[in-house]
């Protein structure tokens, strides 16, 4: 497995957590809980952005592995 595909995998699982967080934000009844989950969602978004930027660089550096 190349670094690019490893990073890709981490991005995918973080995107999965994002979906679950969204579900809990909508179905939680407690405001405090909702705020915590919303903060977590925003934090996850910035991390995904960072990783996606890095992934672009990696794919540029190793074009032969692109698409893995």
């Amino acid at each position: 497995m190349t670094v690019a595909s490893q990073v890709n995998q981490t991005i995918a699982s973080l995107k999965g957590t994002r979906a679950t967080l969204r579900v809990y934000i909508t179905q939680s009844r407690d405001d405090e809980t909702r705020t915590v989950f919303t903060d977590a969602l925003n934090e996850t978004n910035t991390i995904i952005d960072d990783l996606e930027k890095r992934l672009q660089t990696l794919e540029f550096e190793e074009p032969q592995y692109k698409g893995n």
Partner: protein, 285 residues
């Protein structure tokens, strides 16, 4: 014949009157009523019995019932409005143990022996006198001990643990029937419940009890106990995924030779670790 019909009619009428009178006197557990209220209840019961058996005149009976219903209500009202009246009617609570020492005179004044006190304390799970800092006898006769601070049960606050706030769960399915009102109070609709049931692969008729907790997870109990139902583990999974991603990022930070990428990975790994600490009370309990 005439007489038995009279008894029947009177009994039915008095049943309704007494029921209304007791309702008017308020919602109270019988074990918590004051001695005075207890007397009123007994008088009402005896008068009702005598009148319905034709032993006393109907009019006299009703006058007595009226007085014994109205006075307790009036006294209750007064005791709510005035502190002095409250003490006069219900009495005052008595301190039985102070600073860990038994107040013998107070014990005497409520006519209790040391043995009685110990028995009452034991029923409140205070077996050791040395653990009790303070105990008070309430006006209704129950004894409430306050334990010494090092003998009190540990709370999350004592342990410095943050716990997620939790509202009461709502029962949305009972005996295979969907309860619309609790569902609506959660802001959910029957379609949501149908989807959730489909996800678990059970039909509504097979569910004996379904509850939704404050985070919106559905707990199900089936009539058929042989069926093993996977309990919701979504939150634990979410936590595990975050944990794995954090570990991945830490590994990337170690592996990469690009200095900028290293700091980016390390920073994000740190961010995820902080996030995990924040989410722990909400996702794992």
């Amino acid at each position: 014949m005439q007489e038995s019909l009279q008894v029947l009619l009177k009994s039915i009428a008095l049943f309704i009157v007494v029921w209304a009178a007791i309702r008017l006197m308020g919602k109270r557990n019988l074990s918590q009523i004051s001695p005075f209220n207890f007397v009123s209840y007994i008088v009402i019961a005896v008068v009702a019995a005598l009148v319905s058996l034709n032993l006393i005149n109907l009019i006299y009976g009703f006058i007595a019932l009226l007085v014994w219903t109205a006075f307790p209500i009036a006294l209750d009202y007064l005791s709510i409005k005035s502190k002095v009246m409250h003490e006069l009617i219900n009495g005052k609570e008595t301190v039985l143990i102070k600073h860990g020492k038994i107040m013998e005179e107070n014990l005497m004044s409520v006519r209790m022996t040391g043995e009685d006190l110990l028995a009452q304390l034991r029923s409140k799970n205070a077996f050791n006198m040395a653990d009790v800092e303070f105990a008070i006898m309430e006006t209704n006769g129950t004894i409430n001990p306050y334990l010494k601070s090092d003998k009190k049960p540990v709370t999350p606050h004592d342990l410095d643990i943050k716990v997620a706030p939790q509202a009461e769960p709502q029962t949305v399915i009972m005996d295979g029937n969907m309860l619309e009102e609790p569902l609506a109070s959660l802001g959910l609709n029957p379609q949501w419940l149908t989807t959730e049931l489909d996800k678990s692969g059970v039909s509504l008729e097979n569910v004996s009890l379904g509850q939704v907790d404050s985070s919106g997870d559905l707990y199900l109990d089936l009539f058929d106990d042989a069926v093993e139902l996977p309990q919701p583990k979504v939150k634990e999974m979410l936590y595990a995924t975050f944990e794995k991603s954090q570990a991945d990022l830490a590994t990337f930070a170690l592996e990469t030779e690009n200095a900028a990428a290293k700091t980016m990975y390390a920073a994000n790994s740190q961010k995820l670790e902080d996030l995990l600490n924040k989410l722990r009370p909400y996702l794992l309990h």
